[in-house]
Amino acid sequence: MRTETQAIIEKRLAGERLSVADGIRLLQNADLLSLGQGADLVRKQMHPENIVSFVIDRNINYTNVCSCQCKFCAFYCKPGDPEGYILSRDVLHAKIEETIQVGGTQLLIQGGLHPDLDLEYFEKLLRDIKAHFSIHIHSFSPPEIWDLANKSQLGIEEVIRRLRDAGLDSIPGGGAEILDDRVRHQISPNKIGWQQWMDVMTTAHKLGMKTTATMMFGHVETFEERILHMVRVREAQDQTGGFTAFIPWSFAPSNTELGGEGSTGVEYLRTLAVARLMLDNVPNLQASWVTQGAKMAQVALRFGANDFGSTMLEENVVRAAGVKTRVPLQEIIRCIEDAGYQAVQRNTHYERLKAFRKEV
């Protein structure tokens, strides 16, 4: 028996591109195992080697003060709040030193949109890091780039160019939430629109920088909006080829203004698998142990994911929303090996650095 959704999955396996309508049908009607099997077969086409990669990095939030105040966020403080902080140079450098000590290759430095921190502050911060450490800086996000552009009265291309010249190597895909303005008005009314988000990414790509794209789902968006998000990334990727990876994660409702039930485990796997089927031109798909836990992230390796994301020596934002998962390096390697793959440390560009084996 061949159902309509199986026919859609087979179409993709035959190398055809799926439409928005196809994607919506899959999210609505396909059964979980068919979605997983389709995504797993596509993953094998795209990554025939039996490898799952990960990056050793640290998420550092230079400030928790944020003028954006998104309703899904449990991390920010309003400007003037006594709980607000800006990391000192000494603390920042100590964190970077620790990251390098454990084999880390990547820094993910993000805010807060702090009203007092301008482009010159970050140029100095980047130059100072590069002068003292040899590490890839995968930092800021489109909302921060736009915030700096507005404060400095410069265009985003000029801002990205100056940050790059000061040491920024690539840009993570944060702040994408759902790339649709109806949703953004509801959950993050003060944040840039989806086209502004995409402008930062395509501009960075044209300057030769790589970026990722994230998606935070499971709040107010419809299936159609979730699929539109994927298709908008796919269309931009056709133009630039600059996205290295797609990283879906589910909204964690605790301690947020938005609240609600949050997304379930089945919903996560379904969305991940549909992302693998829709995004035929984005090479890597990350499992999110931070939002799903180690067991589910491992299971995600059969639902399209080929990368375990980062070790995240530090992660503050999801943690603030009530998700307390800490998965050390050895656990990541164990999950990957137990699922039948070789665990390989990669860099930000998904180049393989070192094969790992679980310590016995």
């Binding site: 028996m1 061949r2 199986q6 999955i9 087979e10 059964d31 979980l32 195992l33 068919s34 997983g36 099997q37 389709g38 797993d40 077969l41 039930e261 379930t264 485990g265 089945v266 919903e267 996560y268 796997l269 799903q292 836990g293 180690a294 067991k295 589910m296 992230a297 491992q298 299971v299 059969r302 998962t325 800490r326 998965v327 050390p328 050895q330 656990e331 164990r334 999950c335 137990d338 699922a339 039948g340």
Partner: protein, 260 residues
């Protein structure tokens, strides 16, 4: 069969399950050694839907505060011990339960079960899995349960439960001591596939966590038991998995006994 699974390394076993043929020890070992968890899910889901359709039974268990539970195999055991599972709370090391089960050998455990079935009782069976035993031993035990069930028909449900290392408490589960997601789903699915004569496969939600518990309903599970989730949360999980929730206050029949 779904055309998506024709390339599976387990295709011959999928065909057997589809035609209702029983799997033997070697097939069971192959299933456990395979990383193709989606094919396992596919087979388990076939059996699950044949037996229980789209229904998922659930029970909210009470938490027993008194942790001085009498070992269930002692002479003092009575039907109130049914609630022992409800007492599986985070304050009691898993080892306590394991120790209780280990007071009897596996052979003796099966004898007691059979004796209860002979008295007209229905029982629920449990199996601890993990590093203490080999895959072959696990499969062999499942087949012994199947054989006993052929003779008595007295088992109404089966639950595999991960055997935590000594002293492990629920709140310390994150990290290398825990089972993996693959391991949990494989054990549930293989139990469903092999125990083709037992009505229900049960997952213990408090151990798997809500996300994997929900996923397990596609890997053979049709009965959920949890004391860490509210009724509303459990119904939400079941419905969001596309299943129909059916509450079972007295899932265990009045004359039955749980040997755990």
């Amino acid at each position: 069969m779904s055309s998506l699974f024709v390339q599976s390394e387990l295709i011959d076993l999928i065909e057997k399950v589809e035609s209702g043929e029983r799997l033997d020890l070697f097939a069971g070992i192959r299933l456990m050694n395979s990383q193709d968890i989606l094919a396992l899910g596919y087979m388990a889901n076939l059996v699950r839907e044949q037996k229980n359709g789209n229904r998922t039974y659930f029970r909210i268990t009470r938490q027993i505060k008194d942790t001085n539970v009498t070992p269930i195999f002692s002479d003092q055991a009575d039907p109130s011990e049914l609630q022992l599972m409800g007492g599986l709370n985070s304050e009691i090391p898993f080892e306590s339960y394991v120790e209780m089960l280990h007071q009897v050998s596996e052979a003796r455990y099966l004898e007691i079960q059979e004796a209860a079935h002979r008295l007209g009782m229905h029982t629920n069976a449990i199996m601890f899995y993990g590093h203490a035993k080999s895959i072959e031993e696990h499969i062999d035990y499942l087949l012994k349960l199947r054989e006993l069930q052929d003779r008595t028909g007295g088992f109404q449900s089966f639950m595999p439960l991960y055997h935590y290392p000594k002293g492990t408490k629920l709140e310390e589960m994150m990290g290398v001591e825990d089972s993996t997601g693959f391991e949990d789903l494989k054990m549930l699915a293989v139990s469903r596939i092999l125990l083709d004569n037992v009505d229900h496969i049960q997952a213990f939600g408090s151990v798997l966590g809500p996300k994997l518990t929900q996923v397990s309903m596609t890997f053979g599970v049709d009965f959920l038991d949890s004391h860490t989730m509210t009724k509303r949360a459990l119904i939400h999980l079941i419905e969001k998995a596309g299943r129909e929730p059916v509450e079972q206050d007295t899932f265990v029949l009045s004359e039955s006994i749980s040997f755990w």
